[in-house]
Symmetry: D3
Subunit: 286 residues, 6 copies
Amino acid sequence: MNESIDGSLLESIIRTALAEDIGPGDLTTSAILRGDERGEARLLAKSDLVLAGIDVLAETFRALDPEAALRDALADGSEARRGQTLAVVSGSLAALLTAERTALNFLQRMSGIATLTRRFVDAVRGTGARILDTRKTAPGLRLLDKYAVRAGGGTNHRFALYDAVLIKENHIAAAGGIGPAVQRVRKQAPQAARVEVEVRNLAELEEALAAGADMVMLDNMEPEAMREAVRRVDRRIPLEASGNVSLENVRAVAETGVDFISVGALTHSVRAADVSLLISRTERER
Amino acid sequence: MNESIDGSLLESIIRTALAEDIGPGDLTTSAILRGDERGEARLLAKSDLVLAGIDVLAETFRALDPEAALRDALADGSEARRGQTLAVVSGSLAALLTAERTALNFLQRMSGIATLTRRFVDAVRGTGARILDTRKTAPGLRLLDKYAVRAGGGTNHRFALYDAVLIKENHIAAAGGIGPAVQRVRKQAPQAARVEVEVRNLAELEEALAAGADMVMLDNMEPEAMREAVRRVDRRIPLEASGNVSLENVRAVAETGVDFISVGALTHSVRAADVSLLISRTERER
Amino acid sequence: MNESIDGSLLESIIRTALAEDIGPGDLTTSAILRGDERGEARLLAKSDLVLAGIDVLAETFRALDPEAALRDALADGSEARRGQTLAVVSGSLAALLTAERTALNFLQRMSGIATLTRRFVDAVRGTGARILDTRKTAPGLRLLDKYAVRAGGGTNHRFALYDAVLIKENHIAAAGGIGPAVQRVRKQAPQAARVEVEVRNLAELEEALAAGADMVMLDNMEPEAMREAVRRVDRRIPLEASGNVSLENVRAVAETGVDFISVGALTHSVRAADVSLLISRTERER
Amino acid sequence: MNESIDGSLLESIIRTALAEDIGPGDLTTSAILRGDERGEARLLAKSDLVLAGIDVLAETFRALDPEAALRDALADGSEARRGQTLAVVSGSLAALLTAERTALNFLQRMSGIATLTRRFVDAVRGTGARILDTRKTAPGLRLLDKYAVRAGGGTNHRFALYDAVLIKENHIAAAGGIGPAVQRVRKQAPQAARVEVEVRNLAELEEALAAGADMVMLDNMEPEAMREAVRRVDRRIPLEASGNVSLENVRAVAETGVDFISVGALTHSVRAADVSLLISRTERER
Amino acid sequence: MNESIDGSLLESIIRTALAEDIGPGDLTTSAILRGDERGEARLLAKSDLVLAGIDVLAETFRALDPEAALRDALADGSEARRGQTLAVVSGSLAALLTAERTALNFLQRMSGIATLTRRFVDAVRGTGARILDTRKTAPGLRLLDKYAVRAGGGTNHRFALYDAVLIKENHIAAAGGIGPAVQRVRKQAPQAARVEVEVRNLAELEEALAAGADMVMLDNMEPEAMREAVRRVDRRIPLEASGNVSLENVRAVAETGVDFISVGALTHSVRAADVSLLISRTERER
Amino acid sequence: MNESIDGSLLESIIRTALAEDIGPGDLTTSAILRGDERGEARLLAKSDLVLAGIDVLAETFRALDPEAALRDALADGSEARRGQTLAVVSGSLAALLTAERTALNFLQRMSGIATLTRRFVDAVRGTGARILDTRKTAPGLRLLDKYAVRAGGGTNHRFALYDAVLIKENHIAAAGGIGPAVQRVRKQAPQAARVEVEVRNLAELEEALAAGADMVMLDNMEPEAMREAVRRVDRRIPLEASGNVSLENVRAVAETGVDFISVGALTHSVRAADVSLLISRTERER
C-alpha cells in the first residue's frame, strides 16, 4: 500500500474505526495504566494464511502513538504458516492495548480476503484467466478490501460507479437496446471510462460486439456457451465470467477461455484470518 | 432499529458508503437514464435466512430519493425461506439502480450476521445461556453489526472500550494483580461502568470474586472447569464463557451453566445472506 | 445535473461555499430584515452566454430556504442573449439576499465555462473532432467545472487520477520505456481503467501502439505530424491532440483528423459570464 | 501567508483538493513507481507574472510527503520573467507526480490573480487610490483568492458577510430608508463592524453621511458625480468606487479622488498564469 | 435567531451536542419505549429569568423528530417569573426523552447568560453606556453565547479574531509603538475592519488618537482617568471600559461617560437558569 | 489526561474552538507580526484554584505551533495560590497571541470546575460519600468537563446515554412499573451496562430492589428518608442522592450514609478560574 498516495483516505478510515471503539476513552486502560509504560506486540498466525494489511495495522497503532514502530514484518502477499510470527510492534503499552482490537479487526479481515483470493488464483493457475473482485465489499472498507484482493493475487474490477461503465439489463431496457445504451454512454460519459456490457446469451453478446463494447460480462452462462463466446470474440475484447463462481467450479469456468472471472465471495463472505497479538510490557529503552 | 434515535450515526454511515461507491457520479446510470423514470425493486431471498437491515436498506435508497417508499416488508428478525419476497421498494429508477449495490451490501452482511446468530441461539435453547457478540466487527460498522446480532436473538456485550470495563491479563500485570486492578478501576472509571474481569483458571476466579468483580469472563477454560466455576459463583455474579466457541461445541459450553457465551465469529466471519433485488421500471403513478 | 445522484457531493460543495461567506451570520441582512419577508430574484443575462449551473443556483438558495422555488428557467446548455431573463427564484427575502453572491459565483463561473466551450465546439463543427476538458480546474470545483463543459457541448476527459490511466513522460522514464510502463499498469490497475499514453513524436506513437495502448495523446505535435499519426493509427484507437490549443488554431488541429482535442483554458482561464440578480420584495402569497 | 495562523483552514482546502483528484488512488503512478524513488520539480514561469501561492504549492506536496522541501523560492509578490525558475521542490517522486496538477491548479490561479491585480495597482500609481477586491471569488477558495490580491498589491475589502456591514438597495428598501437602515445595524450588529452604505447618487450620499455611515460605496456613478462626492465628503470618511471598472478606465476613476476602487474581475475572471513543473528523478541523497 | 441564515452553523453545533450524548444510542429509552409513543414537554421556569434559546431547544428536538412542534412559546428576551410555563413541545416521546438533557443544557446556559446580561443592562440604564460581551465564551458555543447576550439586551463586541482589529500591548511592542502598529494594520487588514487600540493610560490614549484609531479600549483604568479620557476624546470615537467590571461597580464606570463597558463574566461565569422539562405521554392526535 | 488515548476527540474539540475564533485569520496579529518572532507565556493564578486543563492549554498552542513547549507546569489537580505561576509556554509569538484566548477559555472553565468540585469533596471528607457529576455539561465539552471533575477529586457518573442505563419516571410509566422496565432493559441493553433506577420514595425503592436494580438514585428525598433507604439497602447496592445539593447541605446529605451525591452545579454553573497569561517576546535561542 503506497502510503504517501492513499494516505489521506486510509487515515480517515482508521480514525473512524478508532473513534468507534474508543469514543471518549478506554475506561479500563486509562484507569489502570499510568500512560508511560512501554510494550511490544507480537503478531502471530494461528492458522495458515496470506498476509494483508500489515501497514494498516501499523498505522492504526501510530494513530495513537506516532512513534509506534514495526519490525520483522512479512510483506503483504506473503504466505505464512500457523505459529509463525508476522511482525512485532513496539510502542506505548496503553496505545497497544487500546488499539489492539481495531488493528486486528482490519488485519484479520484483509488477510482473510487475501487468503481466499489466493485459493481462487491457485485454482486457475495456468489457464490464463484472472480472478476479479466485485463491488460487494463491506461499506466503508472498499479501499482495503480491494487492496487485499491484490495482495492475494487477484485483479481489481472497477472501484466504484464512477470509474467505469457497466451497462446492465435495466440500463439496456431503459435505453431501448444494447446499441442505444452504448451510444448514450459514449456521448455522455468521460472519454476515459471503459464501457463493459453485461449479456445473458450469445445473441446479446453479438449485439454488444456490434455496439462496440470495450469488454463484455457473461452473466450466469453455461460453460459451453462461454466457450462459444470465447470463440466468437476471438480476443478482440476481454470477456468476464460472472455468477455463482466457487472454488469447486472456478477451474471449469477458467478453462472455457474467458479472460476474467469475478467472484463476489472474495469480499462479501470473508472468514477472518486467525491471528492474535501477544502484548507484553517492556522496559523503556535508554 | 429506532431511527429517530440512532438516526444521526446511521445517516453518517450510509452517506460514507454511498460516497464511496458514487463519488462524483454513477457514469452508467446518469448517461442512460433521463432521471425522471420510476421503478420498483423487489427484495428476494435466494436462501433461507433471518432478515436484518431492512430499514438500513430503505434509508440507503432514501438518501438518494427522499420519497422512496418501502412496502410489504418483513420485520427484522423474521425468518424467511428461499424464494420469499422480503420487501418492495419504489422510487426513482435512477436512485434504485445507483444505490442497489450499497443497499445490498448493508442488508446482506446484516442478514448474514442475524442468520448465524439465530443458529447459535437455537443451539443453546433451553439451557438458560445467552449468546453474546464481541468487538470483532467490521471497522465502521459496529452499530449495524451489533444491531444484527440482536435481530438474530443474541445479546450485545459492551459496545466499545468506553461503555464498560473489561480487565484483561495485561491490565492485571500492569496493576500488579486482580485486586489492585479492580481497585484502580473503581476509583477512576465512571460509576456507571460494570467491571468484568477475564480469568484463565479457578484461582484467578477466586481473586476476581474477592476483588468484587461485577462479572467474570472464563477465557478458554475446559467444560469441567467452567462447571466448577458456575458452582463456586453460585449466581452471585454472571459468568461468561469465551474462546473458540463453534456451532459444534456451543451446546456443551451452555450446559456447564454459564450465563453468557461470547462468539467472535458472529461478526468477524460473516457469510453474506443470499439476497437479490429485482428492479423494474414502472409507470409514474398519477 | 442529475441531482438525485450527484446530490451528496454537490450539497457538500454548496455548504462549504455558504459557510465561507456566511460564517456566524450575515451582519447586514440579519440586522435589517425581520426574517419573514418574501422576495423574488430575477436572473438576468447582461451579455450573450451559454447557461450552466441553474440547478446549482437553485440549490444554493434552497440550502437557506428549503422552500425557495425556481420558475421560468432556461435549461443548462441554452444560449441566451443579453437582456434575457434566465430564471426567477422566489423565497425568503433574507435567504435571497444572503445567498445571492454565492449563488452567482457558482453560476457565473459555470456559464463562463459553458460559453467558452461552446465557442470551441462551434469552431470544430463538421470535422468530427470533439473538445475535451482537462484536470486544470479550480480546486474543489471539478464536479461543477466538468459539468459546465458538458453543458457547453464538450466531452469530459478523465475526472481524476483514479478513473483512468494516463502514462506520461516521467512514468515512462521510471518504468524504462513505454512497453514496460503499459505492462505494469495492465498488471496493477483495475481492469476497468482505460490506458492512455502521452507521446511526443511518431516513434513514441509506434511504441505506444505496440504496447497496446487504448488511446494516445499527441503532446504538442505539429499539424503535419498529427496528420501522419492519424494516418498510421487508422482509427484503431482514439487520438487526442494536446498543448497550446486556442480558438485561433483549434480548427487547424481538428482538420488533422484527430478524434479529440483537449483545451486547458476551458477551466483554468474562466471569464465569468455577466449575469445579475434583480431582487425585489414581494407580498406573501396567501 | 502566515502558516502557523491560517494553517488549519488552508490544510482543509488542500486536503479537499487532493481528495478530489486522488480519491482512492493515482492509478498510473501507483502502478508504475515503486514508491521510494526521489525526485525534483522545477517550477518555471512560461510568461511574465507576479508570483502568488508558493507556500500553498509547497504545502500541497507536503500533504503527500511531509518531508518535501522547497528551495530557491521567490517570495510571493515577486515579479518574474518568462523562463525564470520560481522554485525547486524535492521529495518523493510519487508525491511530486501525484500532487503536480493540484499544486499547479492552486498556484496558477493565485499567480493569475496577483498578476492582474498588479496591473490595476500600477495603473493607479500616484493617485492615492487603492485597489480593492470583492466577494466574487471561486466558491471555497476565497482565502487564497484574497491572499493573492494582497500579493499583487491590492487591498482586501470585507472577507465575507460576517465581518463588515454593507447596506445595499434592498436593505434600504426593507428598512424604509438609509437612516433607519443604519440605525438598525448600529443596534444589532457587533460593535466591531464597520458600516458601509451603497449609494447611487449624490442625494443618497448625503443621506448616508447624515446617517453616520463609516464608509460609502459609489455604485456605478459617473466620474463627475464621483468628483463631486469626493468634494462633499472632504476626507471625513472613505469613498469606494464600484461598477464596471477595467484596466482602461481605472485611472480615470482614480483621478476623481476616491479612496478605493473595487474590481470584481480580479477574482471572477482569472487567467491562469502560465507556469509548469519540470519533474525529474534524482538519486536518493545519502 | 434568524434560522434561515445561521441555520447551518447552528445545525452543526446541535448535531455535535446530540452525538456527544447519544453516541450509538440511548440505552434506556430504546430498550423501554416502542418508538411510536407521543409526548409533550412543558418547559417550566423554576426561578425568575430572561429567556434565551427557545429556538435552539426546539431545533434540538427536531433533530431527532423533524415533526416536533413548539407552541405557546415566549420570545427570547422575555422576562419570566418562577413557575411560569415558557413553552410546550410536542412530538415523539422517545425523542423528547433522549434529547431532553441536551436541549436543556443549551437553553439553561443561554438563559443564564441573558439573565445576567439583563442585570448589567438594567444597572446602567439611563447613562448612555452599553454593555458589551467578550471572546471569553465556552469553546464551540460562541454563536449561542453571543446571541444570548443580545437577547439579554447587551451588544456584541467583535465575534472573533477575524472580524475586527484589536491592538494590544504585545502587538504594540512588536510594532514599536501605537502609531506603527496602526499603520501596519491599515496596510494589511481588510478595509472593512474597525481598528481598536487597547490603552492603559492617558498618554497611550493620545497616541492612539494621533494614530487614527477607530475606537479605544481603556484597560483597567480608574474612574477619574476614564472621565478625563471621555473629556479628551469628546465623542470623536467610541471609548470602551474594560477590566474587572462587576454588578457592584458597573454603574460607576458607566457614569464616567464611556460608550461601552465590556464584561467577561457575562459568558465566562454563567449560572445556568433553573428550568425544567415536564414530560408526559400523550395520545396520538387523530 | 492520557493524551495518547483520548487524543483524537480532544484534537477535534480544540480544532473546532480555534476555527471558531480564528476563521480565515487573526487580523491583528497577522498584520503586525512578521511571523518568526519567539515568545513566552507565563500562566498566572489570580485567585486560589485547583488546576485542570494544563495539557489542553498546551495542545491548543501546539495546534498552531507544533513545537510549542510547556515547562514548570503544575499537575492537574494541584491546588495553587493566588499569584502562583502555573506553567510557562514557549513558542511562536504569533501562535501565543492568536491562541491565547481559546487556550484560556478551556483552562479557566476546567479549573473553575475542578475548584468547585474540590470544595464539595472537602465538604464530605470522612463520610465515605463520593461526589458525582451529571450530564449537565456545556454542549460539546463533556469530555473536558468530566475530566475536570476528576481532577477536582470527584467521580464521574455515566458519560452519556449510551454507557449506562438510568430508568426515570417516564420510562417507568411507559413500561408499566419499575419491574417491567428493568426487565425490558435486561433483555435489550448490552450486558455491560449497569442499570440504575430513579426513585422518589421508599416504596419505589423497594420495587427497584425487587426488580434487581444495580444502583438506585434517591431523587429529592428528605434526609430522614435517605437514612431509612440506606438502612434498608444495607450496602447490597450503591445509593445515589440527587437534587438541589449545595455546599451548604452536602455534608448533611453525606451523613445519611448514601454512597454517592450527584451535583449538577459542578458543570452547569461554572465560575471561570481567574487566570491570566503574561506573554512576552523572547530572543530566538541559538
